[in-house]
């Protein structure tokens, strides 16, 4: 095991075994080591992509592409860096590309006047997972709806910072590194998000 992909709450960033040894082995062609690395992170990667893109289909594409890129570029990965941050950088870059393409498509549809069919895939996914998540059952529908509204209203960068900090437990320093920006910029971004959350949800809690 390299790290725990946690279903609820956060992703632990502390490797349980020597991750460096696993990566080194995978770089030298040890298939079990590569398998361990992928299995340790793949649920978290899919979850990150799904929460950023709010679309299971796009999240699947990102999952595929992220691990293929990780495999192809693993030989050039520097062992002194954090594998999680490196992998998350691949995933978030792919997600941001998707969001940019989606925005362009939306604008194109808007200029040609064709309607955009609302697809509430997010709602379906919530229902699918309700049976294994007693905590979620406790959330009122109204509060859940309001949270989704706030999340949908965030910019792609804000949503990424919030997702990585709140649900994946990354430190702001690592988030800055993941997004190619400074810790301070990530902190300002998180601060903005929390202000928006409090403003929109303060009367619910």
């Amino acid at each position: 095991m390299v790290t725990e992909a946690v279903l609820e709450g956060q992703i632990s960033s502390a490797p349980a075994v020597d991750e460096t040894a696993l990566i080194r082995a995978a770089q030298q062609g040890d298939q079990r080591a590569f398998e361990d690395l992928v299995r340790a992170y793949d649920r978290a990667v899919l979850r990150l992509a799904m929460n950023l893109l709010r679309s299971p289909e796009d999240a699947q594409d990102v999952y595929q592409e992220a691990f293929l890129r990780a495999y192809r570029n693993l030989p050039s990965f520097r062992l002194e860096a954090s594998f999680q941050t490196w992998l998350y950088r691949i995933v978030t870059n792919l997600c941001l590309d998707h969001l940019r393409r989606r925005k362009v498509r939306r604008e194109e549809r808007f200029t040609t006047g064709s309607p955009e069919a609302p697809v509430n895939q997010v709602e379906n996914l919530r229902e699918e997972r309700a049976d294994v998540d007693p905590q979620r059952r406790l959330l009122s529908k109204e509060l859940g709806g309001r949270i989704r509204q706030v999340l949908d209203g965030l910019t792609a960068r804000e949503r990424t910072v919030f997702e990585l900090r709140h649900y994946h437990g990354l430190r702001l320093k690592d988030i800055g590194e993941t997004l190619g920006t400074s810790e301070e910029a990530a902190k300002n971004c998180l601060f903005r998000v929390t202000q928006k959350m409090r403003l929109a949800l303060g009367d619910f809690v």
């Binding site: 095991m1 725990e4 992909a5 946690v6 279903l7 609820e8 709450g9 632990s12 349980a16 995978a26 030298q28 062609g29 040890d30 298939q31 590569f34 398998e35 361990d36 992928v38 299995r39 340790a40 793949d42 649920r43 899919l46 979850r47 799904m50 929460n51 709010r54 299971p56 999240a59 699947q60 999952y63 691990f67 293929l68 495999y71 997010v122 996914l125 919530r126 997972r129 294994v132 905590q135 979620r136 406790l138 959330l139 509060l143 999340l151 900090r165 709140h166 430190r171 702001l172 902190k187 998180l190 601060f191 929390t194 202000q195 959350m197 409090r198 949800l201 303060g202 619910f204 809690v205």
Partner: protein
């Protein structure tokens, strides 16, 4: 330093992302300001509400992703394997090290998710045929021939009831797989109807005490529901109530602990009321103590 500033940074405070100096300021202020302490509790509640708002990929979606990845890796490894063979036959020296990545891909592609333990509808009778054969190493021979070393990976499927010992043993092992909380959660779910088995009950207790994943711990509590009166289970629930960092898990623990109204839990409840911050759990503990005619605190 104003209350307004304190409240604006409470969220970063909870994330542990304030500078040392700012964190000290917040701590100092909270000691003397009751309304900011209340604001901190509201902030905590907001964080807890957000905890439950994340989308969780379904096991089916994850399985689809893994299948697609396996196919992509297989295609990629086939391409790399072909290139490697071309190099070998072209007479250029080929180091086995250069072939290792292709080998890794091949094995990953073939066996990556093949060894999953979930029962399927496949009959178990015959040993499965090799699902993949991959060239691991090629060496041109002086005679003009070639020496080929192959890697083969087999996929094996088992079908049976989780009540049967060999199947149950595999599911119990899967319930402890440290790399995959989803697999652990599914395993405990499958084992739930078999909690009369001591081995299964121990698996639930182990997960409740030490699984790092809150969802798995919740599932363990579900599995132990019929054994709330058992002293070992009660003791594990008490530890959870007093020390688990997840409100949902503590909530389930208190609900189960007070079901039996056992005098043995009074001391635990009295300790819990002193340290518990969650309103629901506090009220639940208070109500239980009242119903048992016990005092609210330990003296």
């Amino acid at each position: 330093m104003s209350c307004e500033w304190i409240r604006s940074v409470l969220s970063l405070f909870l994330y542990g992302e304030l500078s040392f100096e700012d964190e000290e300021r917040v701590h100092g202020h909270l000691e003397t300001c009751e309304s900011c302490r209340a604001a901190l509790e509201r902030e905590r509640a907001l964080h807890a509400a957000l905890d439950g708002a994340a989308l969780e990929p379904s096991p089916e979606l994850l399985a689809q992703c893994r299948t697609r990845l396996r196919e992509s890796l297989r295609r990629e490894s086939a391409r790399e394997g072909w290139l490697a063979r071309l190099w070998a036959w072209s007479g250029r020296p080929v180091s086995p090290a250069l072939l290792r990545p292709a080998t890794a891909l091949a094995l990953v592609a073939a066996g990556f998710f093949g060894a999953r333990l979930m029962p399927t509808s496949q009959p178990p009778a015959e040993p499965a045929a090799p699902v993949a054969t991959q060239v691991r190493y090629l060496q041109p021979e002086p005679s003009g021939g070639v020496r080929i070393v192959l890697d083969e990976t087999r996929e094996r499927t088992l079908l049976g009831s989780p009540g049967e010992a060999p199947i149950q043993q595999l599911v119990l092992e899967a319930a402890q797989d440290p790399s995959d909380p989803g697999l652990r959660l599914d395993s405990l779910d499958i084992l739930r109807p078999h909690s009369e088995s001591p081995g299964v009950r121990q698996a639930f207790l182990r997960a409740l005490r030490s699984d790092p994943n809150a969802g798995v711990r919740l599932k363990a509590i579900e599995g132990l529901r019929s054994y709330a009166a058992d002293p070992e289970v009660r003791s594990a629930l008490a530890v959870v109530l007093l020390s688990d960092d997840n409100v949902g898990v503590r909530t389930q623990a208190i609900d189960l602990l007070v079901e039996n109204r056992s005098p043995a839990v009074v001391g635990i409840l009295q300790q819990a009321i002193e340290r518990e911050r969650d309103t629901y759990i506090r009220e639940r503990v208070q109500k239980a103590l009242l119903e048992m005619n016990a005092s609210m605190g330990a003296f």
